[in-house]
Amino acid sequence: MQPDPTQPQASPALPAAAPWQPLPRRGAALYAGGLALALAPSLGLPAGLVAGPLLGTARLPSLAAGVAVAMLLGLALGLLRHRRIGWKLDATGFATRRGGLWRTETLVPVPRVQHLDLERGPLERRLGLATLVVHTAGTRMAAVRLPLLDLADAEALRSRLARQADLDDAL
């Protein structure tokens, strides 16, 4: 007989403590590329505009140089930051950490998870990755995002957290 999908299933208890899991490496290029594309117009163009008259070079080469330097900076920064992103799920809750210079860790206790979103852009779909968004009722940490997560991991996390929330409500 098939188990009723609407009834909460008993699930194995969460481990008391778990190590930080890193993101899959294949997402690093996507993350770095995204950061480079974001920095190029916002940082590179103003820097190029300012540096041109200062260094006495023509406008177009200095703009191009500014944009190129910003893109390289974005790529390097993106690769570094991607390595630092991590997550873990244990008895205390779902935790993510990120950041190179400014390090932040966010912990959402399992009873406080409101709902979960799985977002997949076209590039993420090709690489078999997904972005998991955990929504809480808070204000600053209302949506905790974990980008470029392995699809199997993301779906397992989503079903695990949703099931745990169901179990808690049923008690």
Binding site: R103, E105, P111
Partner: protein, 500 residues
């Protein structure tokens, strides 16, 4: 049976719509009168616009109906696109009644039903007759608080509900409201808003020109007086003093208009707040919907021997929405505030028996270091204008160091089974606390400076936290202490279910 809005509601909808358009319409009418070649169109255009608005308002009145069911209220509205909305009673967090002077003339009130989250109210009835509105409020409160009432006791529209016991927790007389005006900054905000409207109503060049002409005339007049620098200094000080006095007077007037007759009442398990002189507002909230608390004692509060107690609730709406219940005690003595908190948080201890202090030296250095960039900027700006006199800015440094030292002495946090609290500020003291059950997420942040010095900041997130108040966070905590705090809170939260 289906209820409809009050017959005069079309007027209030019209007034509401006109308020948005009054400045451009006035500009159009006045500007239109000057040019005579297309005077006809400029005169008829606004009138046609007003006519269209009147028709839309009347249509909105005709299509709005509501019905009170067993456990939900049904609202139907819309002419072309019909909307039907069902709002369960238990979802209604707050029933707010608002009466401006015009509403009081007609004995009507605007009713808003608010649920958790979202910026717009679930249902907005503009307007209902006053007794109808009060009856609706009482009905919703009755149903919302007693969902397990026996189903045989369904009330029809005509049955009278048992009047719940009322307990008055706080009432502000006129003297207290005047103190509230003296303590607050409302006057400055209104003047700033007035300047904004000035720039909006008149073309920018004209407004700037007016202000420049005013200052030129004032300076020219002062130059004629031939006072010498001591006279000039004392004259400017006197003018500043006059400006502050006028602003405070304006604050007092605004406080009287908004808070006259303030009453905080506990009725049937809900908190009800009524206030206002010309425009009356009533809003209520259940004590268990309170997410976080903010107790404030600025320097002015301390001089008058008062504090103010404010709350965060999870209902939506902007920070400046006057219908949102934000202030439990706009101004009250410290003992009264403590009594209120003890009454509304039974089982918790307030003030906490022991505050955990932070390492004083490190915190003082960090607080002092935060003011340095601003001082440098101010120094640069002054040096650009006044040359070497900018060195006077350095006089601020010892004052800032002393203030940082005293402030670091007051920083601290307290955690027990029910409550987590943070306190800070020396000049202007504040306490920010919440029940542990109401925490939604925890954060641990380390800036580069934190990593150098081995400290961390613990962020505690609650629902509906106001952006205007100090957030619920513990800064400059040694790293291992911070992690221990986060882990302890996480353990406590993992055991407890969410209780709305």
């Amino acid at each position: 049976m289906e209820h409809r809005l009050h017959p005069w509601s079309w007027l209030f909808v019209l007034v509401q719509q006109l308020r948005q358009f009054v400045v451009p319409l006035a500009a159009l009418v006045f500007a239109g009168q000057r040019s005579s070649d297309d005077g006809g169109w400029a005169l008829w255009g606004p009138l046609i616009g007003v006519g269209v608005l009147v028709v839309v308002s009347i249509l909105q009145y005709f299509t709005y109906r509501y019905r009170i069911g067993e456990d939900a209220i049904q609202v139907r509205s819309g002419l072309f696109q019909r909307n039907q909305r069902q709002i369960p009673f238990t979802r209604i967090h707050n029933v707010a009644l608002h009466q401006s002077l015009l509403h009081r003339l007609f004995k009507v009130a605007e009713v808003r039903l608010e649920a958790a989250g979202g910026n717009k109210p679930e249902a907005q009835m503009r307007v209902l007759g006053l007794d109808q509105a009060l009856a609706l409020e009482q009905l919703l409160r009755h149903h919302g608080e007693a969902p397990q009432a026996p189903t045989g006791a369904t009330t029809g529209a005509g049955e009278a509900l048992p009047a719940p016991a009322q307990e008055q927790l706080l009432a502000l007389d006129t003297a207290e409201v005047v103190r509230l005006g003296l303590v607050s900054n409302r006057g400055m905000l209104v003047v700033a808003a007035g300047v904004g409207v000035l720039f909006q109503a008149f073309p920018e060049k004209a407004a700037v020109g007016m202000i420049q002409r005013f200052f030129h005339e004032a300076v020219g007049y002062a130059g004629h007086l031939d006072l010498g620098w001591l006279g000039m200094a004392s004259a400017t000080l006197a003018l500043l003093g006059l400006a502050v006095f006028v602003l405070r007077l304006l604050s007092v007037a605004l406080a009287l208009a908004q808070y006259h007759g303030f009453r905080l009442v506990c009725t049937g398990g809900r908190l009800l707040v009524e206030r206002g002189l010309l425009a009356r507002a009533r809003s209520s909230v259940s004590p268990r919907r309170i997410q976080a608390w903010f107790l404030q004692e600025t320097l002015l509060h301390r001089w008058l021997g008062r504090r103010s107690l404010r709350i965060d609730t999870a209902t939506g709406g902007g920070d400046n929405d006057p219908r949102k219940l934000r202030e439990l005690a706009p101004i009250a003595t410290p003992q009264h505030c403590d009594q209120l908190i003890a009454r509304l948080l039974p089982g918790s201890q307030w003030p906490p028996p022991g505050w955990q202090p932070l390492p004083r030296g490190g915190a003082a250095v960090r607080l002092f270091a935060r003011t340095l960039p601003w001082l440098a900027l101010a120094g640069l700006a002054l040096a650009w204008q006044f040359g070497p006199w900018a060195g006077l800015v350095l006089l601020w440094l010892p004052l800032s160091a002393y203030a940082s030292w005293r402030q670091a002495g007051r920083l601290g946090y307290a955690l027990d089974e029910r409550l987590v609290a943070v306190r800070g500020g020396w000049w202007s003291r504040w306490w920010r606390f919440a029940e542990v059950d109401k925490l939604q997420a925890l954060g641990l942040h380390r800036s580069p400076l934190d990593r150098c010095l081995g400290t961390a900041t613990v962020w505690l997130d609650t629902a509906g936290a106001s952006a205007l108040w100090p957030p619920l966070r513990v800064r400059y905590l040694p790293q291992d202490q911070a992690r221990a705090l986060v882990e302890e809170l996480a353990r406590m939260l993992a055991r407890r279910r969410q209780v709305w």
